[in-house]
């Protein structure tokens, strides 16, 4: 099996992040990359809780949001010269506040995992979101609060007027945060988090308090969520109640889940996919939330281990060089699947539009008569039929590819 060195992966990760603006340098692209950077750190911190620690949280945005709010306050204080330090340290302010909040809330929320933890996280989330509208002087009410990142001492002459400069700063933080979150999984505390996730009872019989293990993971997750919040504050220079409410908590859950909870890289994939959907798809359709919901549903049903899990499924087949035997079956199922998705989206959009003439994929449809509905519906059904017909051969191909792998394994061992 070809083993790629871990350090190579990390260098590629860093170079990839640094190189992105070379390929796409529009204002929109940089703005999306910044969102991605924030989303990656946030989703990874969420995965520390759910994927590694087995704690399902519905209120992780609290630590992101509180970190963000304090970070904006810090920006304001720098502006009024109450504080004086370079804004490159702002994410650390966010992280510190996220950690403080987690240190406090964790004392009672990590007592149990499961439903108890989930309900407490939901309650805390609602509590903080409600408080943010009550304590106006701190949270700024519905308008939120805003700051200005261009004050404070310049960093090697950089004064942070451009989003691109912020992007490179974000890359540094994303890389450091990712590295540290990865290292955490390799430490005694990180490994025991997995053990407690799998079996809290047994963990206590090998000397570890399950509660203490959860508490440590919880605080680490709060810290990194706060760093993401600090990055948010730097990028947008304002923050509102929306950034710590249940919707934000829900979105980070979605991105971690869609990416794949069991894998370290999963939330990174999820964060990238969700950011792209959020910022690109929303330009084309008002219904992007619907598509996101459907995608989440399909992931839960058919790819319970997320996109990362789907990729990792092919590791064995790839290692034994059988991947070629899967290309054709994938194409035979993939093409009608693609048509199915395109046609279904067309049908949904056609039903949704209130204009008589509707342009989709360069074609002109008429939403006032039934005939176009029927035509697209036929396409949907035909594609569905082809998928169903092609599934058995895909399954057979998959099985034979894996079977051979098993034989090879035995040969290799003997």
């Amino acid at each position: 099996m070809t083993v790629i060195k871990k350090s190579t992966v990390w260098i590629c990760y860093l170079l990839g992040l640094l190189a992105l603006p070379q390929f796409f340098d529009s204002v929109l692209a940089i703005s999306i990359f910044n969102q991605m950077a924030i989303a990656i750190v946030f989703a990874l911190s969420y995965n520390m809780l759910l994927g590694q620690g087995g704690m399902l949280s519905f209120g992780h945005a609290v630590y992101f949001g509180l970190g963000g709010f304090l970070a904006v306050h810090a920006l304001v204080m720098i502006e009024f010269e109450i504080l004086s330090f370079s804004i490159i340290w702002i994410p650390l302010v966010g992280g510190f506040i996220g950690l403080l909040a987690a240190l406090f809330i964790g004392t009672f929320s990590t007592h149990k995992a499961g439903t108890v933890f989930a309900m407490i996280s939901l309650g805390i989330g609602e509590l903080i979101a409600a408080s943010s509208l009550i304590f106006v002087s701190f949270f700024g009410g519905e308008a939120g609060i805003s700051g200005d990142r261009t004050f404070g001492p310049p960093f090697f002459g950089i004064e942070w007027f451009q989003n691109l400069e912020i992007y490179y700063l974000a890359v540094a933080w994303v890389f450091i945060a990712t590295l540290f979150m990865y290292f955490f999984t390799l430490t005694p505390a990180g490994k025991m988090a997995n053990a407690v996730r799998d079996n809290p009872e047994r963990a206590e019989f090998i000397g570890y308090s399950a509660r203490r293990v959860r508490y440590i993971t919880f605080c680490a997750a709060g810290f990194f969520a706060g760093i993401a919040g600090g990055l948010f504050a730097l990028n947008y220079e304002f923050i509102t109640e929306e950034n710590l409410n249940a919707a934000t908590s829900g979105r980070v859950l979605l991105s971690a889940y869609i990416g794949g909870l069991g894998y370290f890289i999963g939330p990174i994939i999820g964060a990238v996919v969700l950011t792209l959907m959020n910022s690109l798809l929303s330009n084309y359709s008002d219904l992007w939330m619907l598509y996101l919901g459907i995608m989440f549903l399909l992931t839960v049903l058919f790819l319970p281990r997320g996109f990362a899990g789907f990729i990792m499924m092919h590791q064995m087949v790839w290692a034994h060089g059988k991947i070629k035997s899967l290309v054709l079956p994938y194409l035979i199922t993939g093409v009608p699947s693609f048509i199915f998705v395109i046609a279904s989206v067309g049908l949904i959009e056609l039903s949704h539009t209130d204009e008589a003439e509707f342009y989709y994929l360069g074609l002109n449809f008429d939403s006032t008569t039934a005939i176009d509905f029927i035509l697209i519906s036929i396409a949907v059904l035909a594609a569905l039929f082809c998928i169903r017909k092609s599934l058995p051969q895909l399954r057979a191909a998959w099985e034979s590819a894996n079977e051979i792998s098993d034989d090879d394994e035995k040969e290799a061992q003997s």
């Binding site: 290292f183 955490f184 390799l186 430490t187 005694p188 505390a189 990180g190 490994k191 025991m192 997995n194 053990a195 996730r197 799998d198 079996n199 009872e201 047994r202 963990a203 206590e204 019989f205 090998i206 000397g207 570890y208 308090s209 203490r212 293990v213 440590i216 680490a220 069991g262």
Partner: protein, 250 residues
């Protein structure tokens, strides 16, 4: 000298008395078996000693410290390890990680998030030694949840003994095994408990008489006899209450 002593321990679940005044002294280095019919309270007794349940009354002393009603992790840290009747492992961690986790506390890592496990040479070597002892060195990268049953039982033992605890409690270590599997399991138990104190609950009388220096018979929450194997075999009370049918079966 007793390493573990129970004094008049009782346990009620609501109105029901499950353990009714058990007193027991386990000597350092002895191999002690607890037998008794189903529902006699053997597993409950184990749960009381290891801290999973709180006692209703009485006291339990381990190395002269009172441990009744202490948390399982506190008791474990004092050097008392146990296995479970129903396999109780970390299913999504691999075999190596399972064993290494149970070595962490006794190796002094506590809740450290500043040591990288991959770099702890001594810890990883110790883990491999335990894996060799339990015969799972070839399976070290297999997720524990995917192991065959007998291998899971071996891992169950491995997790219990890895920490190097001086007192090891095994709850039906060969339950559900085939005859040959049970044989190698007994051999394993002999090997891993050498020089240690062993307390074992077991149904299979052949294994009990093979392993134990002393046997306690628990019936309806009371110890009706505690003696050497040959005396237990000869004890008419025990035969009436429990052994009679088993002996004639065998």
């Amino acid at each position: 000298m007793s390493v573990l002593s129970l004094h008049d321990v009782t346990k009620n679940f609501g109105e029901t008395e499950i353990i009714r005044g058990v007193s027991l002294n386990i000597e350092r280095g002895e191999k002690h078996a607890i037998i008794g019919p189903n529902g006699a309270g053997k597993s409950t007794l184990f749960h009381l000693i290891s801290g999973l349940y709180n006692v209703t009354g009485g006291s339990i002393k381990f190395k002269d410290k009172e441990i009744q009603n202490k948390k399982p992790y506190e008791i474990s840290r004092l050097g008392l390890a146990r296995s479970f009747q129903v396999t109780n492992i970390f299913a999504r961690l691999n075999v190596f990680e399972n064993v290494r986790c149970s070595l962490l506390w006794s190796s002094g890592y506590k809740y450290s998030f500043w040591h990288l496990l991959g770099r702890q040479k001594e810890l990883n070597e110790k883990t491999l030694e335990v894996l060799e002892q339990i015969g799972l060195q070839d399976k070290k990268l297999t997720p524990a949840g995917e192991l065959a049953y007998a291998h899971q039982r071996a891992l169950e033992l491995g997790i219990a003994i890895a920490s190097g605890a001086e007192v090891i409690m095994l709850d039906e270590p060969v339950a559900g095994m085939s005859l040959t599997e049970a044989e190698s399991a007994v051999e394993l138990i002999h090997r891993i408990t050498e020089g240690k104190t062993l307390i074992m609950v077991e149904h299979d009388m052949n294994i009990v008489f093979d392993v134990a220096d002393r046997i306690s018979v628990l019936v309806y929450g009371e110890v009706i006899a505690c003696d050497k194997p040959e005396n237990i075999r000869a004890n008419t009370h025990v035969q009436e209450a429990y052994l009679g049918e088993v002996v004639t079966d065998a």
